[in-house]
Symmetry: C2
Subunit: 204 residues, 2 copies
DNA sequence: TGTTTCGGATACTATCGGTATCCGAGTTCC
DNA sequence: GGAACTCGGATACCGATAGTATCCGAAACA
């Protein structure tokens, strides 16, 4: 346990920095070129390391990408919650959320990565398990959020909040996937469908 | 131009048979193990040929998979049209369609392949272009179908048939992708969302 | 200061998509 | 009917890349 105040970086800190830098660079490359299109060597070199650094910080490509996605998810959730807790009425909140969706699905590099990585799960039980965990968590939080927002507006959904959450997430994923293929696809479909879902609710 | 009635197979016929057999075997393997999980060598050997046979019938793995997907699409479209032209009222048709969706999304090997292959498009302009062509065709036919069915029932959608088609397709894709990860996912969400979309229509 | 630990580098292997080349049966033309 | 040619499919090879085995040197420790 050194007390050398000069060397500001202990070994663990250095490794943490390395890991962070790798995730940072990998995030850019994965988003730009996709999962398959990004080799670990490219990531390592772009970060100023060798492939060995990747493997001593992650079990492999899958875990690296999972770490990248986790940083992305954090930001996305933040954005959604912000939209839905905006200090207006339900319509205003839906508008804010729709705007967020439009922005995120408009440049769909993120959803494309998400979908591509989900495909990897087919070959990797570990990825499948981790994604299911995150997915269930996401559905549960979304359902909670929907419940709160709808109750806040004095309504009661005809469909369960859980099902609404699944529908909206699926729609977002599917729309993102299609949009990443076809740039001309109209993304406003999401907002309209959401309104249709919420319209089928009665005042509590 | 031989008139030998005994040799039933000319060279072109043989090649067509080879191609057909390759697609057939590839379809099984792609559906079972996914795109990435299926090597061309496996396909060739399982079909009783060598990799050379694949490359003299297809430009590569992508074209082979596209051929496989085309055979699948043909069957799927048939199923959907059958459901929606069943000789009952709108509710009955929706029920038939919902049942079809439940069956197809329940064992989601097909949607998983679809989504995985869509991810390939990111690295391949050719795949992207071909998929966009098919996708637009599918949206257009679906919109037509919806238009006819809704008009048949004496209704008028609030949302455009085109947008409804995009929404339903996206939802199906997204739900299929999620379902292929999480076997416990409730697929009936699709039917409920579809009803919510159609409920937001007024009698013409 | 000698010893141990371990993060990261280097060298190597295996897999797989794709290319170049070859062979021989089927086709054509005289 | 036989010589010349065509081309579907086989074989051998290349390049990229995920993953593994091993090594090195500096930090941590006693």
């Amino acid at each position: 346990m050194s007390v050398d105040s000069e060397r500001s970086t202990t070994r663990a800190e250095r490794q943490a920095q390395t890991r962070e830098r790798l995730v940072e660079v990998a995030r850019e490359l994965f988003l730009a070129d996709g999962y398959a299109g990004t080799s670990l060597d490219k990531v390592a070199v772009a970060a100023g390391f060798s492939k060995g650094a990747v493997y001593s910080n992650f079990s492999g490509k899958e875990e690296l990408c999972m770490a990248v996605l986790d940083t992305i998810h954090e930001e996305q959730i933040e954005g959604v919650v912000a939209a839905f807790t905006a200090d207006t009425d339900l319509d205003g909140r839906i508008d804010a959320f729709a705007a967020w969706v439009r922005e995120k699905l408009g440049k769909p590099r993120w959803t494309a990565l998400e979908v591509e990585f989900a495909a990897v799960a087919r070959q990797s039980p570990w990825v499948a398990g981790e994604l299911v965990k995150r997915h269930r968590m996401l559905v549960a939080s979304s359902a909670d959020l929907i419940d709160r927002v709808v109750a806040d507006a004095g309504l009661r959904l005809d469909i369960s909040a859980h099902k609404a959450a699944v529908a909206l997430l699926s729609l977002g994923i599917g729309l993102g996937a299609m949009r990443s293929l076809d740039a001309e696809l109209d993304v406003d479909v999401f907002a309209e469908t959401m309104r249709a879902l919420l319209r089928s609710s009665t005042s509590a």
